[in-house]
Assembly symmetry: C2
Homo-oligomer: 271 residues x 2
Amino acid sequence: MPAFKLILCYDGTAYAGWQSQRNKPTVQDTLEAAIREVTGQSLRVLASGRTDAGVHALGQVVGFEVDTRLSAEVFHRALNANLPDDIAILELSEVPAGFHPTHHAVRKRYRYIIYDGPHRNVFQRQYCWQYPYGVLDADAMHAAAAALLGRHDFSSFESQGSRRKSSVRTISHISVCRRGTVGSDLPSADAVRAGEGRGESSESSGPWIVVEVEADGFLYNMVRAIVGTLAEVGGGIRPVTWPAEVMQAANRGAAGRTAPPQGLFLVNVDY
Amino acid sequence: MPAFKLILCYDGTAYAGWQSQRNKPTVQDTLEAAIREVTGQSLRVLASGRTDAGVHALGQVVGFEVDTRLSAEVFHRALNANLPDDIAILELSEVPAGFHPTHHAVRKRYRYIIYDGPHRNVFQRQYCWQYPYGVLDADAMHAAAAALLGRHDFSSFESQGSRRKSSVRTISHISVCRRGTVGSDLPSADAVRAGEGRGESSESSGPWIVVEVEADGFLYNMVRAIVGTLAEVGGGIRPVTWPAEVMQAANRGAAGRTAPPQGLFLVNVDY
């Protein structure tokens, strides 16, 4: 039976997250319904990981096997035609049997977008955290984040409810940049996937703060807990050295609050 | 009684347009409810013009008189606190009695955003026309649009249902630009209002086409009819000279289809 890999982009606003749930709309159920519509087969798909309610994806990776004679191109088009406006398959390809999007992932990148401009941002309200307490010091946040680079126990940044064997992860990239626009990131998944807009923008002023984190894996709510912690540094409530202390405490109570879901984007997954 | 002028930004997605209607949410009713909440007074506000269902505003201008002792700054903050997330007052100022946002307007600017990239754009789907028929020739659209500059009878671009004395208007600016991002336009009303992102971007490639039209007044659905007509040129269905012929016909049946509402933004109004 042919195995397929999808790269999926979605606006998480209308969904109770990725994972299938009873009586709530989820991205997984919506995708599985489209596959059923096109192939006549009911099956479960696997993803690189769950995303929570309200969290978005620019490049979620999904795998499944299905008996179809459709070419990848036709299958791709047929699935998109059966998906709602807020979910798009960017790529569909046939892969060797046994591809497992969760277990085979070697690296993931998340982006978190904060808006600290003077006005309520009506158009991006579902795609950023509108920070309500004034202007953040992005340089201080960037400096503080550097302590989290490398292999550490991140249990201070893990929400309860998860059952991981280990809370040790390796962050290979973390950056905090102020930007004049998030246009190349947000509206255009193409630009992101082509490697643009990865936090190395030339614009260093403006109301947007983009936090990028790449790691070999993430604990439950890890990015949002890191962002909530860095925001306390950016807001001048805590010193630049604080996130390092939080991490060393290995205690979730030590960290800042979990930043809201709508600012978070799963950018891509490497295999 | 003090008179006030507001500059209002709104996401039109959830509203049946600006103008008050029974049993449907409108921007006008929502704003009047906020004023009632803050001042205890029921009143009607005036706007520079109506916007249709799904149409957005970056700088709608609203005027009203109300008996209040609040300072402009406090009144501004109190109103915003009583407005939903998809409406924001960017500026509030006291003006001389008799200010009429409709009659005193001398010039308005609209922006229409088209996306013709290869993938469904899930994040901007409510803020652009996702052109489904391939890539548009923006240069041809720009060249065709030049014929509409100046004082003309625009009745070919007026939808029925309006009762204007005259369909002669003067377009003082019309441009069509391909852009790599609409970030500085869309998410940040600040940047727009500061004069950035007015179609003179340095980026000349990318999946966005921005149509800007400035005139002393607009007929009903005029921008959307112009955009629908220019898109037939951009799509290669009609020659560059066609919009000029459409205009000269002075007959709505001669023009292209009305482009969908969600790509349209009222940018600003000059007095």
